[in-house]
Structures are given as structure tokens and as C-alpha cells.
């Protein structure tokens, strides 16, 4: 099944996987493929390679998608009947805008935006990118007028962070917990019991007063936007589980990304979120099933190339085939662990993808039928 079939009827596609497996390129190629089929598509990227970003005309961080110039497609020789929109997420700004939108008045807005705790929280790498990415996704899906929104997920140290982000924020902003901070000596404290009093006295002692002060201002100001935030976070959570949402897992055949893919797939199932398919990038094409006989191969080329060059060529080929066999084993492991019959395999392409033409190359693999894809892999191996 091609990516197009897998995304049939989907409005939101989240591309997950560990760093360095070609997630951004894959996301952009999927977006390009859908746009060329006539859809209006937005792709949200987090940290694209510079050359890929400039290929899409994304020269700077922005908070709204901008349309990729159709002239670029014409130049690359493809017809795109739909529209391709792209943006690079600015996590801090997305967070600020969310606060601005939710704050009931100017005073609350300023109080939050100027608070040191908030500034750190919204600027910190861990956690914020995950939340703002899906908050943006939610907004684009709801208000953007796109047929499909594709999200290239942040390079999380752990895929779990991403799935957990809305839950963590919802429970964090959940009224009851927050009230504990807002009224430490009030009714809530009495209900919860004596331990809260201990908590606050110890906190003062452990953290020092200033920090606590900042925190309490932060929490009090947040109280003003609590309802809006909780609502937003649950909207985001609902979107992740929506039947029109799907997760594609991208990996390369190396062990770490494969482990991560298996782990993430398990977490998806646990959270009852929809898994839409597996893409394995950077597969070394396999030309022969058995081990390469280096000396025989060297001998067969020695007349034409001389012994030294023939030997180097034979060893290069043998190494490539050894890698190809390891890739096949990794793919088999993924098949079994994920219960995926037909992962989409994309061969190792030459060099980094850094223009529309390169994206088109990836897109061809992703959107091919199983049969075509098999043929392209054979071609890459030189056995077609």
C-alpha cells in the first residue's frame, strides 16, 4: 500500500521517529505528494536542514504556513494541482500567542509573559516544542482550511514526551492541583490535609524564597487562563485520538531507531492512538542473498581492472551487501514486532535531499504501488 492509500480520509498525519532518520524529508515529500494529487496541504517542520528549508522557501522561523512557490514545481518538472504550504515552528512564539489569545485582559497577559518562570518554561527545549507543535497542529486543522496537515515531530529524546505532552499539561493545569497553589491556606489545603502545610514550609526551605515567589505569581496569573488552556489541551488530546488522525512511524534500519520505533509503536497502542504505517528510510539495496565471495569476485575482475583495484571494488561491494543483509534482518524484526506486513522501504539515496527535485525522488518511492516500489529497489540494487 502506498502512503496515499494509507492517508486516505485522513486530515492529520503525524510523522514520528527518532532523530536522524529523515523524518523532515519524509514529511515534506508526503506533503508534496498529496499536493500534487490536488490537495491543499500544510507541513509543519521543527528543525529542517538549512538546504531543505531554503528549497521550500522557508528562510526563517515563522508562525504561519506560507505557500511554496508553484514556480518551483514547474522548474522541477512536476505538476502540482493542489497547494503546498510549509512552516518552521517557532515554539516560543507559538506559546506566547496562545497565552495572548487566552488571557482575559492585558494585565494577566503581561503578568504571564513577563514572568521569569514562564519565560524559561516557554523557551526551554524539553517539553515545550512537543506541546506547541501539537497546539499548532490543532489550530491549523481547526481553522486553517487545509485538506491535510502533516506534522514533523520534534527530535524528542523520547517519543513518549510527545504523546504525553497534552496529558501532562492538562493534568498540570487541572483546576484542583492549581488551586492548591493559589490558596495554600484555603479550603483546598484543609481538604488535602496537613501535608500541604508541610509541603510549603519545606519548599520554602529547600528552594529559597525568591523562586517560590516567582512561582506563586506565575501560578496565580495562570489561574486567569486556566479554563481556556485546559479546554485547548483536551482539544489537542482529542485530536490525537481522532479517527481522521494517523501516526506514521519513520525509521532507518539501524538498531537505535528501530528500538525507538518499536517502543513508540507500543506506546501508541497503549494510548489507543491510530498507527498508520511504517516507513523505513536509508535501506541499503540488496543484490544477492548469499555472502559475497570476495576472492572469486576479485579474480573475475582482475584482468580488466588489475588486482589492486579489483580487490577494492570487490570489498566495497561485499561491505554493501553485508549492510543490506543486516538491513533486511532489521526490517524483518520491525515486521514481527509491529505486526506490519508491508513497510514502505526507501533505499539509501545519494546525498542529502536539498531541493524539490530531491523531494520528488523520495515522494516517488512513498507514493509508488508495492510493485513499483519493489522494482525501484531492484533498480537501486542493480538487479532490475
Amino acid at each position: 500500500m502506498s502512503v496515499a492509500d494509507r492517508l486516505e480520509g485522513k486530515r492529520v498525519c503525524i510523522v514520528a521517529g527518532s532523530g536522524g532518520v529523515g523524518k523532515t524529508t519524509t514529511s515534506a515529500a508526503i506533503a508534496l505528494g498529496l499536493a500534487s494529487e490536488g490537495k491543499k496541504v500544510a507541513v509543519v517542520t521543527i528543525d529542517p536542514a538549512k538546504r531543505l528549508a531554503s528549497a521550500l522557501g522557508l528562510e526563517q522561523l515563522g508562525n504561519e504556513p506560507h505557500r511554496v512557490d508553484p514556480a518551483l514545481f514547474t522548474k522541477a518538472g512536476i505538476e502540482v494541482t493542489g497547494e503546498l504550504w510549509a512552516m518552521m515552528l517557532d515554539a516560543k512564539r507559538t506559546f506566547d500567542e496562545l497565552i495572548e489569545r487566552l488571557a482575559p485582559d492585558e494585565k494577566t497577559r503581561r503578568e504571564i509573559l513577563d514572568n521569569r518562570i514562564y519565560q524559561e518554561l516557554s523557551g526551554a527545549v524539553a517539553g515545550t516544542q512537543e506541546f506547541t507543535a501539537i497546539a499548532k497542529l490543532y489550530e491549523l486543522d481547526r481553522d486553517g482550511g487545509y485538506d491535510v496537515v502533516i506534522l514533523d515531530t520534534p527530535p524528542s529524546r523520547n517519543a513518549l514526551d510527545f504523546l504525553d505532552a497534552p496529558d501532562r499539561l492538562t493534568s498540570f493545569f487541572e483546576g484542583r492541583a492549581l488551586k492548591l497553589f493559589l490558596a495554600p491556606s484555603g479550603i483546598a489545603a484543609k481538604v488535602v490535609g496537613r501535608s500541604t502545610g508541610v509541603v510549603f514550609s519545606v519548599l520554602k526551605r529547600v528552594t529559597g524564597v525568591d523562586l517560590l515567589q516567582d512561582l506563586s505569581v506565575f501560578f496565580r496569573a495562570l489561574g486567569g487562563i486556566l479554563e481556556g488552556f485546559t479546554e485547548r489541551a483536551s482539544g489537542v488530546k482529542a485530536l490525537l485520538g481522532d479517527p481522521a488522525t494517523t501516526f506514521l512511524i519513520v525509521t532507518s534500519p539501524q538498531r537505535e531507531p528501530v528500538d525507538e520505533a518499536i517502543f513508540f509503536h507500543g506506546k501508541l497502542a497503549e494510548a489507543r492512538m491510530p498507527f498508520g504505517g511504517l516507513i523505513v528510510n536509508r535501506v541499503t539495496p540488496c543484490a544477492q542473498d548469499d555472502e559475497v565471495d570476495v576472492s572469486a569476485l576479485t579474480a573475475s575482475m582482475t584482468d580488466e581492472l588489475g588486482a589492486s583495484l579489483a580487490g577494492k571494488v570487490a570489498r566495497t561491494y561485499a561491505e554493501a551487501q553485508a549492510l543490506a543483509h543486516r538491513d533486511l534482518r532489521a526490517i524483518e524484526r520491525l515486521r514481527v514486532e509491529l505486526g506490519v506486513e508491508d513497510p514502505i522501504l526507501v533505499p539509501q539515496l545519494e546525498g542529502d535531499v536539498h531541493d524539490i527535485g530531491g523531494l520528488l525522488g523520495v515522494q516517488r518511492h512513498l507514493f509508488a504501488t508495492d510493485e513499483e516500489r519493489g522494482r525501484m529497489m531492484d533498480e537501486a540494487a542493480g538487479v532490475a
Binding site: 536522524g20 529524546r157 492541583a177 509541603v199 529547600v206 523562586l211 543484490a287 575482475m301 583495484l309 571494488v313
Partner: protein, 316 residues
């Protein structure tokens, strides 16, 4: 460059997927082979190193032997907090009340950088000559297999941020102690791991700038991992492609193109680092991370030789 292993703490970071865990394990083995008692510390839920050595996922905080002189510790913020509070508070019941309190859990989760601070606090503890943990033996070297660059910087920055924010009280004091160690180049080294590809190289250059800003010191070393050897020259590739069968020709061309692209990125890295004192060492491609202890020992020997050279800038 071998004085790298004489620090108390080496922080290994870089972009996701570049082989940080492999490099951390390699450095750890190299130091252990030199007679040091070494701990490789992973931030919980990763545990790549322990899996390489055939152990299952680690119990958090259990210090487990991996090889001669080499130990493994998995660090997580929650138990670090429990340990910290138990150590700080005079009454056990107080610590228990605090850790079981929902309010406190929320506060800890919500306070930016608190998890990072706790994690670094435990790393600091492991790197002390005299351990705070009762009965624990000290290590000569702690190798932190840190998360990817951005999060690693957050880890390194958290103690200072807390020291500045709290100003007074035990957290401020401890934050300062940890931060002093991290920004002391005689005790702490950051090792930037990269592969010869566009994004990892960009991230290494970014790490150099961030380390300057955060620690006031540059990374002690950049290790470019998984460098493919360019065996054939361009004309040789052309001759071979004409003579060999299609599969062989494809392999040779692909290997050559890849090696050339890699050399271009290596050059970009060296240019980017030009003017700063960060030496660059390369490690050969070893087949994508399916490495066992024997491979790591071999890689450690290669790294050791390259670090020993006067000019560690080596083209492999």
C-alpha cells in the same frame, strides 16, 4: 588529548542518531582499559549502553558492572528527588510526606529545569571523590551519555539557572557547587559527537556556541562518528563501473558518492570550528550501531591512538 580522560566528568552529546551512546561507551572502555574506575551514566529511559553490553533495562540508580572497571548507572529525576530530600531533611517522615504529595509532584513537574537540576545533582554526586551515598565507592571518571544537544544544554544550564533564581537557600548553594564543577574545564569536558552529515554538523557548531555561552568553555573535542572510507578515486570508480556487473557498479558508485558527501561535510565542520580550539577526531563507520563489547574495545583502541597524536585532526 589523553588528558581528556583525566577529568571527573565527560558529557557526551550531539544530534539524535549520531552514535552518542557508542562514543560514550567507547570513551568509558578506553578510560577503564587505562586502569580507571569509570561510570557511564545514562538519563533514564535510554539505556542504550547497558543493552549493548547485553544487560536489560537498568533499575534506576543501581550501579552495575559492565566490564572490568566500567559501571553503568541510570539516572532519573524522581528517584533523584527522593534521594535528595531524604539526604536534606532531618526527619524521614517529612521527606516521605513531600514525595508522596501531589502538590509537590506538580510543582516539581512544572518548575522549569527542576528535573534537569535533579539529574545533574545525581551526576555530580557520582563524580565526587567522596560520595554522598553511604558506602558508595568513588569513580575516577563519570561519562554522561547525555540526551541530544538542546536538552543536554538545558541539563548543563539548570544548576546555574537555579543558583541565580533562588539566590539563597540550599538549592542556590548546591546549584552553584554543581555549576562550578560543570564550568571548570579541568574537571568537566563536553564531547560533541557528530556524523559527517549536514544537520549533525550544524548542531555541533551550535553546541560549540551554546557551550561557550552556558559554561564559558568550548567542547574539549568533536568526534565525527561513522566516517566511510573513500577507497576509490573518481577515475577508478569510472573504470570499475564500466567493467563490473550492474550490482557491483551500483555499490561502488553509491559508496563513492556517500564518501564524497561526507568529506564535504567534514570540511564544513573544520571550517566552522576554525579559530576555536576544538580538535576534531574521526571514527570509522562500523555498521550502524549493532556493536558488541568486542567492537567497542576495538573502536576504543582506534580512538585512543587518534587522541594520542599530537595533532588529533585526522582524515580517515
Amino acid at each position: 588529548m589523553t588528558d581528556l580522560l583525566d577529568r571527573r566528568l565527560i558529557v557526551v552529546t550531539g544530534k539524535g542518531g549520531v552514535g552518542k551512546s557508542t562514543v560514550a561507551a567507547t570513551l568509558g572502555l578506553l578510560a577503564a582499559d587505562g586502569g580507571r574506575r569509570v561510570a557511564i551514566v545514562e538519563v533514564a529511559a535510554r539505556d542504550h549502553v547497558s543493552r549493548t553490553f547485553g544487560l536489560g533495562a537498568a533499575d534506576v540508580f543501581r550501579e552495575r558492572p559492565l566490564a572490568d572497571g566500567l559501571h553503568h548507572v541510570s539516572v532519573d529525576a524522581e528517584p533523584a528527588l527522593r534521594e535528595y530530600l531524604a539526604d536534606q531533611l532531618p526527619v524521614r517522615a517529612m521527606a516521605d510526606a513531600l514525595t508522596s504529595s501531589r502538590a509537590f509532584a506538580y510543582l516539581a513537574a512544572a518548575t522549569p529545569g527542576f528535573r534537569e537540576l535533579l539529574t545533574m545533582g545525581k551526576v555530580w554526586e557520582l563524580a565526587q571523590h567522596t560520595r554522598r551515598t553511604p558506602g558508595a565507592r568513588p569513580y575516577d571518571l563519570v561519562v554522561l551519555d547525555a540526551p541530544a544537544t538542546g536538552h543536554a544544554i538545558a541539563l548543563l544550564d539548570a544548576p546555574r539557572t537555579f543558583a541565580d533564581a533562588a539566590r539563597v537557600g540550599p538549592i542556590a548553594r548546591q546549584g552553584r557547587t554543581i555549576s562550578d564543577m560543570l564550568s571548570d574545564p579541568r574537571r568537566t569536558a563536553v564531547v560533541a559527537v557528530s556524523t559527517p552529515e549536514e544537520l549533525p554538523v550544524s548542531e555541533t557548531l551550535m553546541l560549540r556556541d551554546a557551550a561557550r555561552a552556558t559554561l564559558g568553555a568550548e567542547p574539549a573535542l568533536a568526534i565525527v562518528n561513522a566516517v566511510r572510507a573513500a577507497r576509490l578515486t573518481g577515475p577508478e570508480v569510472a573504470r570499475a563501473s564500466a567493467a563490473a556487473t550492474a550490482p557491483v557498479a551500483r555499490s561502488v558508485t553509491r559508496a563513492h558518492d556517500l564518501a564524497r558527501e561526507q568529506q564535504a561535510q567534514l570540511t564544513r565542520l573544520r571550517r566552522g570550528l576554525h579559530g576555536s580550539g576544538v580538535p576534531v577526531v574521526t571514527l570509522p563507520f562500523r555498521g550502524d550501531g549493532d556493536l558488541g563489547p568486542a567492537d567497542l574495545h576495538e573502536l576504543g583502541r582506534v580512538l585512543g591512538r587518534r587522541l594520542d597524536r599530537r595533532d588529533p585532526v585526522v582524515v580517515s
